[in-house]
């Protein structure tokens, strides 16, 4: 027991050491950046100093310049768009993939269409969606949907195809109907793969968000970045980029927590 505690303590010390290293690396990077701007090596027209970005961040709490919205409005708009697209993709894509993987006729029916749509890059849908639904929430959510939908379908499809035959046989000898086997054996056994797909979808939807907003929007983080360019405000651009990065990180973290609960049996 004592040994174990010592070992744990040792590991914690090691973790701390590595964390300090990581912090030092980030701080050094910021410091060099700051110095380069202060000494005029980098022009303030093309890049803003980290301190300036921080100042802008606090300013954007209440200021709507230059893009017409505060940082909170922009975050809220972007979140609404990306989450709408992302969740619609999960709700439609994951069950669809599973059903296709389980029921052959459905697979044969949908797969050709899916294979045609699959290689089209999500942003190639932008012009069409603008024609169809304008530049509102629906349009952007739809573009994000296209980017998140494909990995949801493919992974849950592959996951359910990998269901162990002996598990299916167990349920079959107990007298389960095909649908019951699908529900009680196929779906749970494909969950780890489905989650891997949703994780890819999360990354895609966050990435496509910026593209969607860069091209057609009137608020949001991507739109803020674009306005920053038009008004030559590198601080606003960098603030937008960092906000997107940090939000993406938070999402992945929340998602990992949810995944650990749902497929607990894999992580224990």
């Amino acid at each position: 027991m004592n040994n174990n505690n010592l070992l744990k303590k040792g590991r914690r010390m090691g973790d701390l050491k590595y964390m300090i290293l990581s912090v030092i690396s980030v701080l050094t990077f910021l410091l060099i950046w700051q110095l380069l701007v202060i000494f005029g090596v980098l022009s303030t027209r093309t890049i803003a100093a980290p301190t300036q970005v921080l100042v802008t961040f606090f300013e954007k709490f209440y200021s709507t310049a230059p893009d017409g919205a505060t940082i909170f409005t922009n975050i809220a708009v972007s979140l609404k768009v990306s989450l709408t697209g992302f969740f619609s993709a999960i709700i439609i894509g994951t069950p669809l993939g599973m059903l296709m993987g389980w029921y052959k006729p459905l697979d044969r029916f949908i797969r050709p269409l899916f294979e045609i749509i699959r290689p089209i890059p999500p942003i190639a849908w932008i012009p069409l969606t603008i024609l169809w639904v304008g530049i509102g929430l629906g349009a952007k959510a739809m573009i994000i949907f296209f980017s998140a939908f494909v990995p949801c379908v493919i992974n849950s499809y592959t996951g359910i195809k990998l269901t162990s035959q002996v598990h299916v046989s167990v349920a079959k000898t107990f007298g389960a109907s095909n649908f019951k086997i699908f529900r009680t054996v196929g779906v749970p056994s494909s969950m780890p793969m489905a989650f891997a797909g949703i994780r890819i979808a999360l990354g895609n939807s966050w990435g496509t968000l910026v593209a969607a907003e860069l091209l057609a929007a009137n608020a949001g983080l991507g739109y803020m970045i674009m306005m920053g360019r038009q008004f030559v405000r590198p601080d606003v651009i960098i603030l937008g980029m960092l906000t997107i990065g940090i939000l993406g990180f938070i999402f992945t973290w929340i998602f990992t927590k949810i995944e650990n609960v749902v497929v607990r049996w894999r992580t224990l």
């Binding site: 167990v170 107990f174 389960a176």
Partner: protein
């Protein structure tokens, strides 16, 4: 054998895979609560035979009757303990034991009582909330056996469930199966290639011939339990069965 005692009737079971004749006209009866072992040379179609009995694959001809009705997993309680690990990794020990009962839509309180009984009999109390991969391979196999008995099956089929165990664990689990079988009075067909195991467990042994398999011989084992591997009578039966498998 008086007819009212017969639980399982197998009649003229024949199976071809294309041109390959695997089983040839197999007929036999199993009495209610009987422990029947099936042995045969390697590759004689034992697993095919079991898959036919569970209705996982259709026979070319012939039929299996349970209580004089054609067997149907949707109507009858058939349990199958497979050779390969078949505990559901996403379910806890307790949920694995409940699985078949839930499929059969058995009332919740009945499920609870039965699962408790099995957990107690197998001594799995401390593992009830564990997942199969957290247990040893032998414990995982015990879940499978427990899950099969929990069904109170009309027919319990076991396909070399201890094939991958070491000899000590085998003895232990064989005794455990006997304990469960006596407790629940289930009708068991146990397939193995291990003759010693068959003599230790069975009340009656069916010996299959090489492909196309038929029943070559039926051997009644009327030794008292617990059986002793060194008992001269035990050894005699074992040798007899071995000879029958060797010379075809």
């Amino acid at each position: 054998m008086p007819n009212d005692d017969v639980k399982i009737k197998v009649r003229n079971l024949t199976k071809y895979f294309g041109d390959l004749h695997v089983l040839d006209n197999i007929s036999f009866d199993v009495k209610k609560g009987e422990f029947l072992c099936v042995v045969g040379p390697t590759g004689c179609g034992k697993t095919t035979f079991l898959n036919l009995l569970t209705k996982l694959i259709p026979p070319t001809s012939g039929e299996l009757y349970i209580n004089d009705e054609p067997a149907d997993p949707k109507i009858h309680n058939i349990s199958f303990a497979f050779q390969e690990p078949s505990a559901f990794p996403w379910l806890t020990v307790e949920q694995n034991l409940e699985f078949g009962l839930k499929i059969k839509n058995i009332p919740k309180d009945v499920i609870k009582t039965r699962v408790e009984r099995i957990i107690k009999l197998l001594g799995l109390e401390q593992f009830r909330k564990s997942y199969p991969h957290q247990l040893s391979v032998s414990s995982e196999q015990r879940i499978i056996i427990g899950r099969s008995f929990a069904m109170y099956p009309d027919l319990l089929l076991m396909d070399e469930p201890y094939g991958q165990m070491d000899i000590k664990m085998r003895y232990y689990l064989e005794d455990e199966v006997i304990k469960l079988w006596k407790e629940f009075g289930s009708t068991v067909i146990f397939i193995t290639h291990n003759i010693e195991e068959a003599v230790y467990l069975a009340e009656r042994i069916l010996i299959l011939s090489n492909k196309p398999s038929t029943i070559k011989k039926e051997v009644v084992v009327d030794l008292p339990r617990p059986r002793d591997f060194t008992d001269p009578k035990f050894v005699e039966i074992r040798k007899y069965v071995t000879e029958l498998i060797k010379w075809w």
